[in-house]
Point group: D2
């Protein structure tokens, strides 16, 4: 609710873009888990900008500091608080946005709801808030090592171009987190052109969960795909979600859409060892709200970066129409930076559902 995510594995996020720090408190983590700043830092580095010519040039060094919940390198079962200081924040860039509502940003609705807002860098609505999610996700992914579950995200589409090939090894080698090597150069050039035009592109991210526990989720309101949808839509710029073949399924006949079950392994064993298998995994690794044990896969629509350098029509806080040219440093595509955040949110959902399962079923 509001600033805490999860039922049993809970991340409480805090901090604004231009305050002293952002951070989170993680509650419900099992004791005796190995955890150090290093485990978290590698995920923070993935979301960090400044890696290429097409992402924002703001030079953030997002260094995390664990301030509670870890003793001699292991978790103690108490809340894990992690802080990341803000610096290199040029508040003056934002001073002129004080009374201006940027198009497709949270500025106007935040002001409408709360009657006050920290306008500097988007305040609480800034992308910097996602640091808290990445930290939480890092701890969750540390827990998922015990089930050998891996979460991999990549750009499936950019600017309307769908990429057919999937080579997981390529993802870490390119700044766009594409998995299709053949298409990379073309898209990268397109994005450089978009940048010179002071414009931006969006895309579609695909998340794959390799070797997830089977049996996660429940048949009614606790459906696993409902939690995943909520987790993804809680990330800024996300406009859509589809599980498995998603919208495409809705355009098929039942005889085409249905996916034959082909095996049912080890029912009754520990959930990490049981699974249901289907012919083509059309439903994205989830049937009836519960994971089959097959790879979970879903896609997420990311709108183009709202902050563009072109002149735009908008209004100020008094409702007057004005023209706006947003200065400052902005990404011409946000997709690659959103990917580690979606991976993190996926990890949070899986661990929370794993603990809910364990609480009720006991194995």
């Amino acid at each position: 609710m509001m600033n805490t995510f999860g039922n049993l594995f809970r991340v409480t996020s805090f901090g604004e873009s231009h305050g002293p720090m952002v951070g989170c408190v993680i509650d419900g983590c099992p004791p005796n888990l190995e955890l150090s700043e290093k485990n978290i830092q590698k995920y923070l580095d993935k979301r960090c900008p400044g890696k290429s010519k097409i992402t924002s040039e703001r030079k953030e060094k997002d260094i995390c500091e664990i301030v509670s919940g870890v003793f001699e390198g292991r978790t103690t079962g108490t809340p894990i608080a992690v802080l990341v200081r803000n610096h290199d924040a040029r508040s003056q860039d934002y001073e002129k946005l004080k009374d201006v509502f940027r198009p497709s940003h949270a500025d106007a609705t935040y002001q409408l709801k709360y009657g006050i807002r920290d306008y500097r860098g988007g305040g609480r609505s800034s992308g910097r808030e996602t640091i808290a999610r990445v930290i939480g996700g890092a701890v969750a992914q540390q827990i998922l090592k015990s089930t050998k579950t891996k979460i991999i995200g990549f750009a499936r589409e950019i600017g309307g171009t769908f990429f057919e090939n999937v080579d997981f090894n390529f993802i870490e080698e390119n700044p766009l987190r594409m998995a299709d090597k053949k298409e990379f150069e073309k898209i990268f050039s397109q994005l450089q052109k978009i940048k010179t035009e002071k414009n931006s592109l969006g895309g579609v991210v695909e998340i794959r969960v390799i070797n997830p526990p089977a049996g996660l989720g429940s048949p009614v309101f606790g459906k696993l795909e409902a939690d995943l949808a909520s987790a993804c839509l809680s990330v800024g710029s996300v406009k859509g979600f589809e599980i498995g073949e998603g919208f495409t399924l809705s355009r098929m006949k039942g005889s085409e859409a249905n996916d034959s079950l082909v095996s049912f392994l080890n029912p009754g064993l520990k959930i990490s060892q049981s699974r249901v298998q289907t012919l083509r995994n059309a439903n994205g690794g989830i049937l009836g709200g519960i994971s089959t044990g097959e790879d979970i896969w879903f896609r997420v629509a990311i709108k183009p970066t709202s902050s563009i350098g072109q002149k735009q029509k908008t209004i100020d806080s008094k409702g007057n129409e004005i023209e706006l040219e947003i200065e400052g440093r902005h990404d011409s595509i946000i997709v690659p930076r959103v990917i580690p955040i979606l991976e993190a949110m996926t990890a949070l959902v899986l661990v929370d559902q794993l603990f809910l399962h364990r609480a009720q079923i006991g194995k």
Copy 2:
């Protein structure tokens, strides 16, 4: 979590397809609201099948009975329990499905997770569970009368055909809940053919919230679109969700996707009287997680009915491959029956967020 939906306005659902009844308990309802069975029954009637040749012929009379929380026609602030008895349930139709896992159904994963299942009519995973949601939604829509908010859903696509025209008046006049009169006959004939082929179709539902309160939702995990996505994906057969222009936005340039703000009315007044307006409402009435006060609109992908009469390959509970012909009465399209459920879930989200808003902001 699991069988309760909502934070402050909470619906707890119970019941299986072939047990004595289904029902729900609604907690958090304000006192002194006018409420009778009649207010609820009209929504239940909307989800009821047996209306046309293309929907299931099961003759259910879903008669609701309020058994607590209402005194002399008004709510008292205590939990409102509402029951609907099951009847006309031919359990014997399902006996032969006892050890069979139907493709694209919850059978196998339910068995995997819980190690036991009421196989009759899908048990808890049956569509009859949605009666609880429709009841909760009916009470929520009774509350939303005070803000003059209306929720209207219709079939935007069926079997891959997109319907351009939107005539709200036509929705109640046709069994498919289409809003495009011109296209109706063609699609209806197509569905009759599908039915004779023992096949099924899916579609895309569009939900419009007319005159929603502005200021609902919050900037981080409490984003209004995240709650809506979760609510929609918690409904069986739903495979995707997009807010506003959704996936289409992800294929535009920023300059095209951005939606100019055009006015900012009455900030600081009661939220039902304030609003932000944009040029084309591309973001679906929500910016930065908070409603603008414009119409909220989103689309939901519904897969084709999984229960088809054609012979299908699947497995039994021992993992043996078998061929299955599902008998019984099934809808060749589930879309029109899902619409009132999605409307109900939308109402639940709006009222819950309205109360969260009121709790924190106080107006």
Copy 3:
């Protein structure tokens, strides 16, 4: 919150004294637990009045009906809804209380808060609501069989007389649920006299949990004693709670109050097999918020029945001073009827904490 108790094992209560029924929905119950109406009925019979001359003569037959969540005698992991019909409710007894606020009852504050109230028999504030708790507790106690945990409550004090002896076998043999056989006759006579005086007595209940799991609870807000206190104070007529030696400890010196640890068994094993032992169990089986594995014991203060036949001063709903003689059938002591409710609440807390423990620690 409000009408749902518990985090993971949740009981949602509904119903009023003079509506058609009271009941509850139990969510989070593990699957494959043996459960039938019989398991629940025996607990309902314990709370039932009509057993002796000093309790209310209302002849209720509180017959429970399980309407969901159980299939072929075992739970399926879905919500368990249980109903108990109201009958023998003489609403006309209460008609004259319509505009009257009884002293030390909920009438006036309910009206103040909600602006409406079902005045018949206390409505939602009636003791009949506790049927829902007893049902939930019955299921919880069914779960606690697996850890061989037993919960026993008895009257430790009545009308200010403290009973020294504790003979568990005597509890079921007397209508006061006293554990001290020697004192019974004297107290029983005293109560008959109180009854003829149209007066009432209160008392102190002691609850003992025999063989509880060790390790339940957590060090800060999740302290086991905090949950127990909240559970007990949520029962009508309860005015105080003390864990272990409680208020008596506050009057000792540290050297007297401190309780030496004498053993530490099997740390690291399954929690049901580990335990900490102290010399005299002064802290009631809980140290630092976490159960030691010793018997948990606490005491609960019950005020005398508020409904007495004597003439009392009070006000009506317009604020006018009036004199009131409450008619109808009332218990001259509520203590024996509150005991099974406190046992039930204790069971609910233990199972909820057991599941929280299992979720975080995994064993």
Copy 4:
């Protein structure tokens, strides 16, 4: 649950005694509330030791730092994170307690549950954790200014001596937070003697809420006294709770215990302006779980400080019996330091219930 307190006004606490800091995140605070470190610091100073010869000599300067949620001196509606650095922590004092379980402390049960523990200064079970509560309570008390509600706690009993007189002005003038000036010198001398004996005393705290909103709480699980009991029992060293005349009521006859209603003011107006009045407020300002608007009052039993300098029998982590002399700096009475914590917990409960009320009732 575990480390978050509250439903709508939520405080998430983190930090250990000898880590770098303790702190909390407050979520659900209304926007536009004036708030600075100064508002919080005055409450932290009240709980700070080092004020007299009978409290611990550890010289903590608990300086708070607000790191989010406040902009230009006012809250923005986002999470308020507040940090307090630890210093003057002599970890070496605790090194010898590494494998020792102190009597009546959390050491043994923490180890039993989690299998790991930060033994330095009690780790998470340390009294320093209560800083988070005092911070949360400070913000809550800032909110309660709008309803002119004041919370005052004082020592009603010390070491078994009950203090009759109540002079609120004296509370801040003496290190024991007694309200009875006449008794102070005698008790203070007694405590100095206790200190030289390396022993400790406990006591009973009384909390009074002056001018609380009427109508807070609800009739079943959300009873206001249940929340208060839970809040108080969640504080270390607390062993009992009674609302109003509490245990004393349980020893009266109904005719004595019942408290006549004498007026019913302004029903239907804003809750801060309505109230029910009784003759002697025996039920502590709460009837049927809902506040009357009269002063809320309750008492809390505090056991004597567990850390005493005398030699004590206990066991080490291998279960061997040993003798222990606890060194370091300890309070010979914890009562005066617990009072501001209980005041804070009371404020948290009231604000949370105020927001719950506002959410459901809307005024």
